[in-house]
């Protein structure tokens, strides 16, 4: 059954796994595939996750993407000010989309080039600095490339493991980078020095493809050796039949996921 899943559907289930074991916290996905992932996690193995409509309402139930506000079951009110207080409190796991991310998980959404006079202005730091030093943070990269997974990020908005380790005393005690999910693979930071590690490649993706599309050396799944083409790497588990049904029939019947990760 898994072999029939599209790449987007594999990505949705891989994103969902990022929230496994989080319990009763706010899941804040940014982007279509992470949003589906969080909703899938709650519909299956993480029923206590708290989700919003992406705006000010905490909503219950298995909600198809694009459901109009009047059809939502509202269980609470969480305007932006309350989100900013909640994130400082730590009961949250965000999945953000970086324009650039390096081997330690330093992430940029601010601008490309010199900050004082950028080549390309992007969003600004947004909440990335506060998110990363306050609670669990994962990332979603819909187009895995050397431009995004790069040796050097131009502006550190999301704090990486090397930067966190350099903070004084207990200042970084809530810093917790979890996973990076891309259209090619799943990565984490479970290495002795906090560098990024290749966990699994999606069905149909070769290790060589991942190495070629990554601007820095990745650690291998077992031990701290470097990933090279030919190294044995697990294949990302795709959706179960029930997960596939939930994605296709309940959560995303209009296949909006395919716009973010083409078939």
């Amino acid at each position: 059954m898994t072999s029939t899943a599209t790449r987007a559907e594999v990505c949705v289930t891989a994103c969902a796994q990022a929230w496994r074991g989080d319990g009763e916290i706010l899941a804040s996905p940014m982007g279509t595939v992470p949003t589906l992932g969080a909703r899938l996690a709650r519909a299956t193995f993480a029923p206590d996750l708290v989700l919003t409509d992406g705006l000010a309402l905490i909503v219950d139930g298995d909600i198809p993407l694009g459901t109009p506000a009047e059809d939502l079951t509202v269980e609470g009110w969480l305007p932006y000010r309350a989100v900013l207080d909640l994130l400082a409190n730590g009961r949250r796991h965000v999945m953000m989309g970086p324009a650039q991310i390096d081997v330690y998980g330093n992430a940029n959404i601010s601008c490309v080039g010199d900050w004082a006079r950028p080549k390309r202005q992007l969003l600004g730091a947004r909440g990335a600095p506060g998110n990363t030093v306050n609670h669990a943070t994962s990332y979603w990269v819909p187009r895995h490339s050397r431009r995004v997974l790069t040796a050097h990020v131009d502006v550190v908005c999301g704090v990486g493991n090397d930067r966190a380790a350099a903070l004084p005393g207990p200042a970084a005690r809530f810093h917790d980078l979890r996973r990076v999910i891309t259209n090619l693979c799943v990565l984490d930071f479970e290495t002795s020095d906090g560098r990024m590690r290749l966990v699994s490649v999606h069905p149909g993706v070769t290790v060589a493809e991942v190495v070629e599309a990554t601007g820095f050396d990745l650690a291998a799944p077992k031990g701290s050796g470097q990933v090279l083409p030919g190294v044995d790497v697990p294949v990302t588990a795709g959706p179960t039949p029930e997960e596939l049904r939930l994605i296709r029939e309940v959560l995303d019947p209009r296949s909006l996921r395919d716009r973010e990760v083409p078939g």
Partner: protein
Amino acid sequence: MTDKRMTADEAVSRIESGMTVGIGGWGSRRKPMALVRALLRSPVKDLTVVSYGGPDVGLLCATGKIREVVYGFVSLDSIPLEPHFRTARETGAVRALELDEGMFLAGLRAAALRLPFMPVRGGIGSDVPRNAPALRTVADPYGSGDEVMAAPPLELDVALVHANLADPRGNAALTGPDPYFDDLFCLAAKTAYVSAERVVPTAELRRQAGCLHALVIHRYLTTGVIEAPRGAHFTECPPQYGRDEAFQQAYARAAADPQEWAAFADRFLGHPDEPSYQQAVDEFYAARGVRAGGVR
């Protein structure tokens, strides 16, 4: 009873060049656009604008009103990047103080509470302090060894906000799903001007606001009240209306090309007052054969 009703132009005439102006709303949501349009018509310049930025920042950048922007982000929401803000940054036309969103909130709170700074964790370890060398950290005075950012107070000369409903004395209601930070902008400012979709007698305010919790802007905070129906256009102002996506797209498309922008500015920004702007918007709708976006 002080009647604080005035026009947008009267409110803006009290703003001087070089002032620090806080603008309420969030991104492309419930921005006091009628007041921003009045600023565009005025001669003021060299403003420091403090904003969870959207097209307010973009338009003020495009018209050369801004010396410095203080922001956590600048976005049109449905269009992620604000084109005029991008140009202003990429050409070096404005100075920028880029903060974490939570540090921005802490700065508003510090100013509102008349404190010299507000401790906040967000910002440590990131390039926010590296790109703003005036920012400082503060060590825990109780000896834990913890160290956090000391967010500076975002003290405002003027706050501009847009409400769903107000009374003539300067009480106002925010009846949409998110009040954003408008009450804090007013608290952090020496003077505050609130525009509203409708101005009603005080006795009507609570009834029409629906819920008591919507009454968060109080008359001791506000200096002037401006009735401005559709005054947040083209940003959203729920429950009265949603964002005018077609107009926002036209804005963003025009911004990408100097000639198209000149035509857009001529058509929509060259008006002597708000009613003639709104008439131009109606003509924009009529030309597309649609009714004004979501206005009830």
